[in-house]
């Protein structure tokens, strides 16, 4: 068990990254419309985030420098500021959506309108970030988020047929166009590689005070945490592909995400699912709020982190407080949180190469890593992915306009 709790940083990063509020709905919708025909996009994304998170974590453990330090050092003050503005904006939108996501999960459990929950959720998120220490926070939400394994149990009970076959035959079904298919592929891939995951993971490595001696733990976090998160999103896709796709039901709201689980496992399954959704969205809110504070502080060189008292990192805590408060206010306008995350993923795609390129450069720098620099295989895979990220970054916005956001 002790070994298992050592990898909760990777688990929380992954769950907050790709089974958060936007992805819960996006994965469910993908399963309902394309069955498993887009499963490959998640797999491709998971391999990419594993390769880059491993590099970012290794640099952070050996040199103590998290990702936005690298962005600033390699891109210079000007281009790094452009990246910061884009990344912070996306982070803020995602944080706001996660706050509403937690509120929606509470609405499903309590039948009290989610708008009433928002101020309470925002206050709770801030309180955890103000008073809680990093490691207990990461363990509670990382482990509770694993309640989403209920998707797997539900899938088992549903006796799915033909899921593997649909995963092996990529391409749009007859009632969908190639444009829409590719748009969803790009959105799923972008969601698995959202930049705030590496901001959070590498800063978390510093928060946990990892050193060169912890590189095995670092690797275990990456190699177990991220594939586990990817498996959860594929299992969710499988449940809607089995139950909703044959009936022609599409997913637009969080309440529909739980339909297959309720059908297979009844009220108990639904209760477990709600715990999982609460933990995943709350964890994602913590991850994005912290990432906002980390990126701004690291760009300017301010003291940051939860490893010091709040008054030792005043500007970091001010950023976190403002982002959480304003995020809650934005959601009180009743703007649809699902739409907000979908657009933020698309906007994030443009910032992807600017975040991952500096990681790859520094992971080859002996100034930082000594003898722990990248090997040839890692460099080869990472270079292919950098090319892929550039293609995705250029293709996303035209695809979004062409398909009217995958409508």
């Amino acid at each position: 068990m002790k070994r298992f709790t050592e990898i909760t940083l990777g688990i929380l990063t992954a769950i907050g990254g790709f089974v958060d509020i936007g992805d819960l709905v996006a994965n469910a919708e993908t399963g309902a419309r394309f069955r498993m025909g887009l499963a490959w996009a998640v797999v491709v994304g998971v391999v990419g985030i594993v390769v880059y998170a491993e590099m970012a974590g290794r640099v952070a453990a050996v040199s103590g420098r998290p990702v936005f330090d690298l962005v600033r050092e390699r891109l210079g003050a000007r281009v790094a500021l452009a990246n910061l503005l884009a990344s912070f904006f996306i982070n803020f939108l995602t944080l706001a959506a996660e706050i509403a996501g937690v509120a929606l999960a509470l609405e499903l459990a309590s039948s009290v309108n989610y708008l009433l929950w928002i101020p309470l959720v925002a206050a709770l998120v801030w309180l955890v970030l103000w008073r809680g220490s990093f490691v207990p926070m990461e363990r509670v939400f990382g482990l509770l988020g694993l309640a989403l394994v209920v998707f797997g149990v539900a899938l088992w009970h549903l006796h799915p047929e033909g899921l593997l076959a649909s995963a092996m035959h990529p391409g749009p079904p007859t009632n969908e166009s190639w444009g829409t298919y590719l748009f969803f592929a790009v959105a799923l891939f972008g969601a698995t590689m959202t930049p705030y995951e590496v901001f959070f993971f590498s800063s978390g490595a510093v928060e946990e005070r990892w050193t060169r001696r912890d590189l095995n733990v670092e690797r275990a976090n990456v190699l177990i945490g991220f594939p586990l998160g990817g498996a959860l999103s594929l299992l969710l896709m499988g449940t809607t592909a089995t139950v909703l796709a044959p009936r022609g039901i599409t997913v637009e709201h969080l309440s529909q995400v739980g339909l297959p689980v309720a059908l297979a496992l009844g009220k108990v399954g639904l209760a477990v699912l709600l715990v999982g959704i609460f933990a995943a969205t709350f964890g994602a809110a913590l991850e994005t709020a912290l990432s906002g504070g980390y990126t701004v502080s690291q760009y300017f060189g301010w003291q940051w982190g939860k490893f010091v008292r709040p008054n030792k990192a005043p500007r970091f805590h001010l950023v976190v407080l403002l982002a959480t408060g304003l995020g809650g206010l934005l959601m009180l306008t009743a703007v649809d949180p699902i739409k907000v995350t979908e657009y933020s993923i698309v906007l994030a795609a443009a910032a992807l190469p600017l975040t991952y390129f500096p990681i790859l450069i520094v992971a080859n720098d002996r100034d930082y890593l000594g003898d722990r620099v990248n090997g040839r295989v890692t460099n080869a895979i990472a270079t292919v992915y950098l090319g892929l990220l550039v293609v995705v970054a250029t293709a996303t916005i035209p695809l979004m306009i062409m398909t009217k956001g995958g409508a």
């Binding site: 210079g76 500021l81 990093f134 003291q303 939860k306 010091v308 008054n311 500007r315």
Partner: protein
Amino acid sequence: MAGRTEGLAGGQSGGRSGDQSGGHRGGRTIDAGLRLLDRQLIDVDGMLAGKVDDLELTMPAEGAPYVTAILAGPGSLSRRVGGRLGAKIEALHRRLHPSEAPGPASVSWGVVTDVGSSIRLSVGKASLPVDTLEQWTREHIIDRIPGSDRAPD
């Protein structure tokens, strides 16, 4: 030997200018653009104390220019960023700064103890001019919230 001092980024140009400084006055020669600019400053207590936003170079009458100080904070960052955004940062710096014509905050090269993936200093950051905005935020905002001085639970 009278020297002239100026920031590495110069007046208008943003980004990293190609000037690669190196001193031979008993110091070592390193690629300042690559290995100094934009690195993290860490004070004697291990606290993060800003970035190397710019460098002050001294141009001796003969020989290569050498680094005399690290410039940090909005007063120097504004020149690196350049353009309209840089001008806004500069205006904010002037407004927040107590003196009439504030220059960029500077940290003497003499307190630098190590140049690696970060720049280590031999003094505490409270004694440096780079810390004023952090102190202001602490006194006026963060310390007014209960629990700001307690270690997290």
